[in-house]
């Protein structure tokens, strides 16, 4: 049995158990398996390309909508975001090479090294929102039991960052739909325990992936609310997902600069 299939069965069993009121708390192994399943659903094991729109709302400022393309390669965890609109943002973007995230501005013609945990284009989104999910690798989970999220029955888990791993938010809470095992809500907390961001995933879509030989899941829309500056929010729209192989040489600064011109 393929690992993805066994994980799915496990998750179904775990969440079914979760549906009963007297359900016992999940063990450490069960929680780890659950995280692996959540990661696996969103991993493609190949290349990925999608069109994204970022709608940024900030207090006392005009809303800004950015259009860009996200390129990803699972094999060496490469990521590239290239903005195409508005005109002022055209050619700007990010390139993740090994453990470094580089930002490029064609107006200056310089590459700036950024932290992987930085905001993307000054919005409330982070690099991790566009990258493959690595929950099992980065966090330890604890069971918070069942909950209700609007009309949905959900399972709630709290994640704490593993020792020695650097992440933007050391504590994360997830609301996972019992029926579909989709993440519906995510809350991220600072070291101090203060809530920093709330993310909602109103829809999930699946697409068959040749490289994975299975379904690849992605949220076409992510609503991100800044919980510190309450008036700020960002909506991420993910469209035209393409899982075919990309050119081998695109994750380079030279390629990025050629597209920036």
């Amino acid at each position: 049995m393929r690992p993805a299939a066994s994980s799915a069965i496990f998750l179904a069993v775990a969440l079914l158990l979760g549906g009963s009121p007297a359900r016992a708390a999940m063990s450490k192994d069960q929680l780890l398996q659950l995280l692996r399943t959540l990661d696996d659903r969103q991993q493609n094991n190949g290349d990925y390309k999608s069109l994204i729109y970022l709608e940024q709302k900030e207090k006392d400022k005009t809303d800004v909508v950015r259009e860009g393309i996200v390129y990803r390669r699972s094999a060496d965890q490469k990521l590239m975001i290239l903005f195409s609109k508005p005109k002022s943002e055209q050619g700007k973007g990010y390139l993740r090479l090994e453990k470094n995230l580089w930002s490029y501005d064609p107006n200056v013609g310089k590459w700036e090294r950024r932290t992987e945990r930085e905001r993307i284009a000054g919005t409330d989104s982070r690099r991790a929102d566009f990258d493959e999910s690595r929950l099992a690798e980065e966090y330890d989970a604890s069971d918070e039991g069942d909950d209700k999220l609007g009309a949905y029955n959900v399972h709630k888990i709290t994640l704490k960052v593993k020792e020695g791993v650097d992440v933007a938010f050391p504590i994360v809470k997830l609301w996972v739909d019992n029926e579909t095992s989709n993440i519906l809500k995510r809350q991220e907390f600072a070291l101090s325990g203060r809530l920093m961001r709330t993310l909602y995933y109103p829809r999930w879509q699946k697409q068959y992936s040749e490289s994975k030989k299975g379904d690849f899941w992605y949220p076409p829309e992510i609503r991100i609310y800044d919980e510190v500056e309450k008036a700020n929010s960002t909506i991420v729209l993910i469209k035209a997902v393409d899982l075919h192989a990309l050119e081998s040489n695109i994750f380079t600064k030279a390629w990025f600069e050629s597209k920036s011109r």
């Binding site: 932290t115 945990r117 650097d166 938010f169 070291l191 101090s192 920093m196 510190v228 309450k230």
Partner: protein, 433 residues
């Protein structure tokens, strides 16, 4: 010479109206120049006084620590060893202040600002007590943990008063987000651009925000007994620290918060020290002094051209009126050089007396303005770094400007004087004006 002076004085007195008009113009320009010079000197002194208390020492030993190549923090680790070395290297030290540094978002319920965070031990900061004028609350309350001092304009933007809570949000050196809730204990009067970018919290709170150890600080701010020693001390430290095994950053005359991008672009990790002086740390506000100096220069140049035209014109009139006199003087044996000297001396006497009077008037106006403690609007405060108009006399600069304008007026009079001296006695005597 005495004769020439006497002729010049008598001639100027004889044409009183013309002398008063031209002398008044020269005096006016000198007075304006003196006022602008005092404003520039006052501005420079205010920046030096405020900046060397708020955000920099005369010389600073600071630096950056990078956990990864792309994530830097303005931190000096194991600062006590560095401090000891600095004390050994610089005997001219008056005192040293350890100041933790940060760059974070300060957030209230209604707004947010990005600001440089100064982590202070308020009991060890006599300078802050001298420079900051508290409009609300108490500076000494900053000794309590999780408190904050902000400035009036910041309080207005954030819509907070003493007792309200602010949140500071910043990533730690490892890039993990952290926040700190702080109580506003003091609101200080604005100090122009310098106060727009600074807030103060207790050093322990800053360490908690950035998850730093006790043996870390942001900068060792060195205050010297004589500020003129800054370049020498700067150079000596740049020489001594690498010898003791410390890695130094290249000299970059900018404020520390302007260096994050370039530091993050570089490949190194670990600790590098950065030595700056007060001039580097306030480079982002020194444009105001430069702008004022440029304005002074441009204005002086334009007015000098106008005066030059006036002086030349007046000299032409004088020579025209005195052509026959020149002819007679030349006929009875006065040499050409002497005729030239006669007219130049007249211009020199006029220039010197007018500029001296102008400088006196200028200084008097400055003294009155200083005594009046005139409050300036917020827009002007940003430019002046102060909430009141401060002018400061620099005797050397004033003397220089008096000399400069006098020399200019005398030099311009050379042209008509030279032409007057070249006249043939016979032609001049027959001249009918």
């Amino acid at each position: 010479m005495r004769q020439l002076l006497l002729i010049a004085a008598r001639n100027l007195f004889q044409h009183r109206r013309r002398t008063l008009l031209l002398g008044g113009a020269i005096g006016g320009v000198t007075a304006l120049l003196v006022i602008l010079l005092e404003l520039s000197t006052g501005l420079r002194a205010t920046i030096l006084r405020s900046a060397t208390t708020l955000m920099t020492g005369h010389v600073n030993v600071a630096g950056f620590y990078k956990v990864t190549a792309g994530q830097s923090a303005p931190v000096v680790t194991q600062y006590e060893k560095v401090l000891e070395l600095v004390r050994q290297t610089v005997p001219e030290i008056d005192f040293i202040v350890e100041r933790s540094r940060g760059w974070a978002k300060v957030i209230s319920d209604t707004g947010s600002i990005q600001a440089g965070i100064g982590g202070v031990e308020i009991r060890n900061e006599p300078g802050l007590h001298k420079v900051l004028r508290i409009s609300e609350g108490s500076l000494d309350d900053l000794a309590q943990p999780n408190t904050i001092l902000i400035f009036q304009d910041q309080a207005k933007k954030l819509d907070v008063k003493v007792g309200d809570t602010l949140t500071i949000s910043a990533p730690t050196p490892r890039g993990t987000n952290n926040t700190l809730d702080l109580r506003v204990v003091a609101i200080a009067k604005d100090l122009g651009l310098l106060s727009a970018f600074n807030v103060f919290i207790p050093a322990t709170s800053l360490r908690a925000l950035y998850q730093l150890r006790e043996d870390t600080t942001g900068a060792l701010m060195i205050y010297l007994k004589d500020i003129r020693l800054v370049p020498a001390v700067h150079a000596r430290l740049r020489n001594a620290l690498p010898k003791a095994g410390y890695a130094l950053m290249d000299n970059d005359p900018k404020a520390f918060w302007q260096k994050f991008d370039s530091v993050n672009r570089e490949d190194w990790t670990g600790q590098k020290l950065d030595i700056t002086n007060w001039d580097d740390e306030v480079s982002f506000v020194m444009y105001t002094v430069t702008a004022l100096d440029v304005l002074t220069g441009a204005l002086t140049f334009i007015l000098l051209v106008i005066i030059a035209v006036g002086v030349m014109n007046t000299m032409w009139i004088a020579i025209r009126e005195r052509t026959r006199e020149i002819g007679t003087l030349r006929a009875i044996g006065m040499q050409r050089a002497r005729v030239l000297s006669m007219f130049v001396t007249e211009a020199l006497v006029l220039g010197l007396s007018a500029t001296a009077a102008g400088a006196l008037v200028g200084m008097l106006i400055c003294a009155v303005l200083n005594a009046a403690q005139i409050s300036v609007p917020i827009g002007v405060q940003l430019f002046l770094m102060n909430d009141t108009l401060t002018l400061l006399a620099d005797p050397l600069k004033i003397f220089g400007s008096v000399l400069f304008i006098t020399l200019c007026t005398s030099a311009i009079s050379l042209i008509p004087s030279f032409l007057a001296a070249r006249m043939k006695p016979i032609t001049a005597m027959h001249y009918i004006g």
